[in-house]
């Protein structure tokens, strides 16, 4: 499944780039993220608990940052699996300064498999978009909090 879209983060481009690679910030903004630990340069081990409607499941996996071109672009590679299925994705995030801060465009391919995919096909796209929206909403909440400190 392809996912692409844009969201605005209300901070300058350099700051947005830093934030999107800060494990502490990412962990607090990713829906359901329980832990994110650095295991190598640009590589993190992640545990998350996905809760959408009645569906819930734990996932464990890795998040990797590749081809970094600060402050404008990097590739995010995510792999995870759990009892209810697995997810593998890779996408490029492009950061462009604009009048309200930074526009973050994402463009990638996500593959979801296992039980969740075989019975939830109808809902994967909607759910993925909802989770991305939540992530950026939280990220913007975080920037407001940092700005207030």
């Amino acid at each position: 499944m392809k996912i692409a879209g844009t969201n605005v983060v209300f901070v300058p481009q350099e700051r947005a780039y830093e934030m999107l690679q800060d494990p502490g910030i990412l962990a607090s903004c990713m829906p359901g993220c329980e832990s994110l630990e650095k295991i190598a340069e640009n590589e993190y081990a992640m545990k998350m608990k996905m809760v959408v409607a009645a569906v819930s499941g734990q996932f464990a996996g890795t998040v990797r940052i590749a081809d970094p071109e600060p402050p404008g672009k990097f590739r995010l590679i995510v792999e995870g699996s759990g009892k209810i299925g697995f997810v593998k994705g890779s996408g490029v995030l492009t950061l462009t300064p604009n009048e309200s801060g930074t526009e973050v465009a994402y463009d990638g391919e996500v593959n979801i498999g296992g039980t969740i995919a075989s019975v939830g096909q109808r809902l994967i796209d909607t759910t993925a978009r909802m989770l991305i929206k939540r992530f950026f909403a939280k990220l913007n909440g975080e920037t407001a909090r940092v700005a207030a400190d």
Partner: protein, 281 residues
Amino acid sequence: MIPAPFDYSAPATLEEALKLAGDGSSKILAGGMSLIPLMKLRLASPESVIDLGRIPGLNQITESGGAIRIGAMATHHAVEGSPLIRGKLPLLAETAGQIGDIQVRNMGTLGGSIAHADPAADYPAALVALEARIHLRSTGGERAVEASEFFLDAFTTAMEPGEIVTGVEIAAEAPSEGYKYEKVPHPASGFPVVGVAVRLSRSGGKITLARVGVTGMSSHAFRARNAEQVLVSGGNIAAAAGVVGEGIDANSDLYASADYRLHLARVHAARALTAALSRAS
């Protein structure tokens, strides 16, 4: 197909159920048409389940002061067949009759569908078009939320942890009103790929009231207020249907792409509006 172990309780009163549900960690079981399959596939593994099925009175359908009150545990079949709803809320009865299949309609409930908030559930299209008020109770008290402010995102509603949907309250449709629910059922699941619920009133040659509810097209059911506006300011059906879904991210899956869904929503909005107009007197 065997669920993970869970605690089960079947309280005899709503008060008891509210107390059990208080911390929001349990799942509420109504008709079980979504929760039970998810549990059997172990996509859902709640530690405890509170069954509302033994609480008397939660499925009542009553009328007072021009408004119809439908209990959360009323099944789709009961809504479809209730003489009161057929007479005073025909749009809702028509919608209920098109949900899933007869087995689902016999077990599934209005409150369950509302609380689950599947982006492609049938009811929400009619509920937003009817401006239904959704009644919620918790140990802290009772409140009501208007349907178009209740469905916030996919599976996401305005409900707080510990709240239970107790029913909906809907003002009776005017007898002169035209109505229609038009859906494109997914061939496997019966869920609407898109569904459009419409109410229209006319006076002379003009449309005086228009309500258009859309489900299945995006992350949650919504009112196509722009299309309603076109109709009441004298625009024709084609013009109104043409703006349905404008500016809204459409869902896509293996069966229907986002563009196709938007196209379907508009075609079926036009059909529903035409049918509703012919029913209006």
